[in-house]
């Protein structure tokens, strides 16, 4: 196959084959994470800039770790201490990075499309670390890796994603790729957070969690963005939790050894009960480990040299 991409902006234009290639590359990366010495010479001398306009602990740390294990140097460009505070535009920041000859920029921004904007300007590779409500491709990829690890594949597997679908770039990215990989996806949430027009994603949507759980192979709870309650999108957290929160009892409805996923950070007792989050069915911590492996794979694929062809 050919791997010719300079950037990873979303999963829309990746083929199933490319997604599988990323997941395949992440397997040996995960082995490296288990070693006593987690350091490779692979990307020695390459520079990776983490450009985070939105707060993030897990994604930024995960990327930073991934790049460092591969031997690259990382620079944090966190908005709080940068010239963005002095009013610099994204375009000018991009030009500055260009002038510094960086090899890869990982960007998180509250505006949808900002990663693509950067990718068009920069010679360096760009990875979208989450842009507005648009996409969060690396979170989706690490979810696929986790699903593949536990369920062995995607074909015919039933994945239920529950929560605030409307505002979730995680859900959006997940749906796009899962469809390509052949999984059967159901989105569940209250009508205000999952309006009927979300059918454009081309998957089943439902407002009744208990009806959708039977037969599910994987259930993913999304973080309830608590600020949404103030804006009147649902009456109370307690009601939300009662209707859409996952717990040990409810998950039994699947009738299977379903895996329970959450992109983090969790609101324990809201979208997921503590007993379930800490149970054997929960793969939430594995998701974090897999995130580093998948990001290593991506960084290697994007700037590890050799972009004309992939040879086995």
């Amino acid at each position: 196959m050919k791997w010719k991409r300079k950037d990873l902006l979303d999963l829309e234009n990746l083929t199933a084959e490319e997604i599988k290639h990323i997941l395949h590359t992440a397997i040996p990366m995960k082995e490296i994470l288990g070693r006593p010495i987690k350091k490779l010479p692979t990307l020695r001398g390459k520079s990776v800039v983490l450009l985070f306009y939105e707060s993030s602990t897990r994604t930024r740390t995960s990327f930073e770790n991934a790049a460092k294990i591969l031997g690259a140097d990382t620079t944090n460009f966190s908005v709080a201490q940068s010239s963005v505070n002095k009013g610099e535009s994204l375009l000018d920041t991009a030009k500055t990075l260009q002038a510094m000859n960086v090899d890869l920029v990982i960007v998180r921004h509250s505006s949808s499309g900002s990663a693509e904007f950067l990718a068009d300007i920069l010679n360096a590779g760009v990875i979208n670390g989450g842009d507005g409500q648009h996409a969060h491709p690396t979170q989706a990829l690490l979810d696929y890796f986790t699903i593949q690890d536990h369920l062995g594949g995607f074909e015919g597997k039933k994945v239920v994603i529950v929560g605030d679908i409307l505002h979730s770039r995680v859900a959006r990215s997940n749906v796009v790729g899962l469809k390509k990989l052949g999984a059967e996806v159901t989105l569940v949430g209250p009508p205000t957070l999952l309006p009927p027009e979300m059918k454009y994603l081309g998957v089943k949507i439902s407002h009744h969690l208990d009806q959708e759980l039977p037969g599910a192979d994987a259930v993913m709870a999304l973080r309830l963005q608590l600020e949404r309650q103030q804006s009147g999108l649902f009456p109370s957290i307690r009601e939300y939790s009662k209707l859409y929160g996952l717990n040990k009892e409810r998950i039994k409805l699947t009738g299977k050894d379903t895996i329970v996923m959450h992109p983090g950070p969790m609101n324990r007792g809201v979208e997921i009960a503590s007993d379930l989050a800490d149970s054997v069915q929960s793969v939430i911590e594995e998701q974090v480990t897999n995130g580093v492996a998948v990001r290593m794979a991506l960084i290697y694929l994007l700037i590890g040299g050799g972009t004309v062809n992939v040879v086995d």
Binding site: W3, H24, I27, P28, E31, G306
Partner: protein, 205 residues
């Protein structure tokens, strides 16, 4: 010395060298250096030499370098098990991430898993590969190994040593020394990876 079936071996592999040149099957067969019996005898002799040189099998572990070092390591393990009655631990190493030419080559190699399910600390590691050429694969393998622990000794076993070293590296056990010109290519075909069992000398076309 051309014969029918020679191309089966060639078609089964697209080769590229560590020095970055893509040699995807552009050679014409010139000579058959080893046949099935030749390979079997070479493996057998190497197995005996390993045990002899290390005065037994204490602390020995085998690690094959992907791709063709892996079946070769398995064969050595099997042979040693036959005459010494011990099962040596065996691992496999993917050296892609340790290559020194990643940023200069056009093609991106697929990374495979490294599986060394035991500690190599204080062990005598026998690294196994099919061809020793520039020495760059062996160099990368040494780096990869040392990241896994600190073995007491590392020894190198290869089926073919074709010369043209670019680094100060030598093999401890050699199946066959084959003097080659830089216009020639060595192609090792093994049952497990290629479906045939032979070593061919090709002329670059």
């Amino acid at each position: 010395m051309l014969y029918r079936g020679m191309y089966d071996c060639l078609l089964s592999q697209a080769v590229f060298s560590l020095s970055g040149k893509v040699i995807a099957m552009e050679g014409t067969p010139k000579n058959r250096i080893m046949d099935e019996d030749g390979i079997r005898r070479a493996i057998s002799r190497i197995s005996h030499e390993i045990v002899e040189k290390n005065k037994g099998t204490d602390k020995l572990v085998l690690i094959g370098i992907r791709t063709r070092g892996v079946p070769l390591a398995e064969r050595i393990k099997k042979r040693i098990a036959e005459f010494e009655n011990v099962q040596l631990p065996i691992g496999l190493l993917d050296i892609t991430l340790y290559r020194d030419d990643l940023s200069t080559i056009d093609v991106q190699p697929v990374i495979h898993e490294t599986k060394v399910p035991f500690s190599i600390e204080g062990k005598t590691v026998i690294l196994v590969d099919d061809v020793l050429f520039t020495g760059r694969t062996a160099r990368a393998a040494l780096d990869a190994l040392i990241d896994l622990g600190r073995p007491q000794k590392i020894q190198l076993a290869v089926l073919i040593d074709r010369g043209h070293r670019e680094l100060p590296i030598r093999a401890d056990y050699v199946g066959k020394n084959v003097p080659t010109s830089s216009r020639e290519i060595i192609s090792v075909c093994l049952e497990e990876t290629d479906g045939t069992e032979e070593v061919l000398l090709l002329e670059k076309s």
